[in-house]
């Protein structure tokens, strides 16, 4: 592979990924409205296009044509860069996600590390947006978002470290390769870690909290803080926050899929694996995210921090110790351990 084709490949992938992120966000909104509609025993969008399928397009056009208001007191620089700070890291993280064996923009050895590096930038966007808005509700929201993200990165990273100990690599595609069928998915690999399903649940809860999804949507908390950090945003400023949020959900669920559910691999040997498996698993997890959102009330900041420090961190540490012990006692046959 020479240098120029590599550049073209990357550009093509980037364009594709941004398009994917945008379309995905638009249609996840549609899906969210449909899911919540049916959970609440109503239909959801239905007027624009069949099953309301054109609704996201109409919404997108509306958002793009709306004026981007700049309220008088805001910090103009911070206010403008915040939405980009949320969206760009999310899109960048897609670069290392293996949609299938070959469908990956750039396979790098520390892919997992890179995703988490970018995930940490996300919270900076929320902080900057909330601070720059010069709105008391937004500032409270920004403070909440930061403390929440900091608290939840710890159990999440401990869990990921456990997984890296098992897999022996940070290359996402290699992690997927190690899980060729359902019995060897890491969520069920009790030989590696007796608490594997618990680790999966911890990872899932943390990714909910990291992406500010209900029941951890303290930053948006519409009944307390109006709309939180994006209270002052209109038009596409708000649209970018929205896209960023949904892109982050996809990243979170993709990682869960890759680390625990075998990524693009088929669960059973007689059906070939591929990107469709990956998307099916990711969308199933996203459905669960929505299902959870439309079931539970919101936690408070104390409840959230209690959950993190008193439950998630001790259990993930226990998991780390147990896994370390297991790996020492009986090294994995399939994994690199």
């Amino acid at each position: 592979m020479n240098a120029s084709t590599e550049v073209y490949r990357l550009i093509a992938f980037l364009v594709g990924l941004i398009a994917f992120a945008a379309l995905n966000a638009a249609y996840l909104v549609w899906l969210e409205r449909k899911v919540c509609g049916h959970i609440q025993r109503r239909i959801g969008p239905k007027e624009v296009g069949p099953y309301g399928l054109l609704q996201p397009i109409a919404d997108g056009i509306k958002l793009m044509t709306k004026q981007v208001m700049l309220p008088p007191q805001v910090d103009p620089v911070l206010f403008r860069i915040a939405p980009a700070l949320v969206l760009i890291p999310a899109v960048m993280s897609f670069v290392v996600i293996p949609f299938s064996e070959n469908l990956v923009a750039r396979e790098i050895n520390v892919g997992l590390l890179m995703v988490f590096a970018f995930a940490s930038v996300n919270v900076l966007g929320l902080l900057v947006g909330g601070w720059g808005s010069a709105n008391k509700y937004a500032v409270i929201s920004a403070a909440r978002c930061v403390s929440q993200n900091v608290a939840y990165e710890i159990p999440m990273l401990i869990t990921v470290i456990t997984m890296v100990m098992i897999t022996g690599t940070m290359n996402l595609n290699e992690i997927v390769m190690q899980q060729p069928d359902i019995t060897r998915w890491y969520v069920f690999r009790f030989t590696a870690s007796p608490l594997a399903p618990v680790a999966f649940i911890i990872f899932f809860i943390c990714s909910l909290a990291e992406t500010n999804r209900a029941p951890f949507d303290l930053g948006e908390a519409e009944s307390e803080l109006i709309a939180g950090f994006h209270t002052e945003y209109s038009g596409m400023g708000f649209g970018l926050f929205f896209m960023g949020e949904y892109a982050n959900i996809v990243i979170g669920t993709s990682l869960a899929t890759i680390l625990f559910l075998g990524g693009w691999q088929s669960p059973v040997p007689f059906i070939p694996g591929g990107w469709w498996w990956f998307l099916a698993k990711v969308y199933f997890l996203i459905f669960c995210v929505m299902w959870i959102r439309w079931t539970y009330p919101r936690t408070t900041l104390w409840g959230l921090l209690n959950l993190s420090w008193k439950i998630l961190i001790p259990i993930s540490l226990l998991n780390l110790l147990l896994t370390g012990g297991m790996l020492k006692l009986m090294p994995l046959a399939g994994g690199a351990g």
Binding site: I39, R41, I43, K46, W291, I292, W294
Partner: protein, 155 residues
Amino acid sequence: MIMGAYFKDLFGGFWSLIVGLAITIKYFFQPVVTLQYPHESLKMTPRFRGHIDLVADPGTGEPLCIVCGMCQRSCPSGCISLKGEKPEGAKKKVLTAYTLDFTRCSLCGLCVESCNFGAIDFSKEYNLAGPSREAYVFDLLKRLKDRRSNADADA
């Protein structure tokens, strides 16, 4: 003991969350209960209190109203105004104008109750939208005539 409470809280809480999810997924697969309003609509109940309308004498088609003004006096918000005159040789007054200012009406129905002749009744109309305030000053006499001519046209 404290550890016991901790684990009880942990597992009990986790179980309560699972139960919650089970309930919402149960409703997810149940049929929707909403009515797709502009495409379909409910029939109003017979007692539905819409704005008032004049009742016509089934024989002559003329309004039953004898212009006693009871409805006007009973109205708390003063939204009814009516006029009548006594034509030469006639025994009773004849209604010449009956307007309802619907912007002020609170749909309490005291006018209908006060009427001793059954000359006003509630309409079943609820699709009321208009571009201006003036659109809600109803000329009930005209509405009655329109209804009659519509009925004639249908017949």
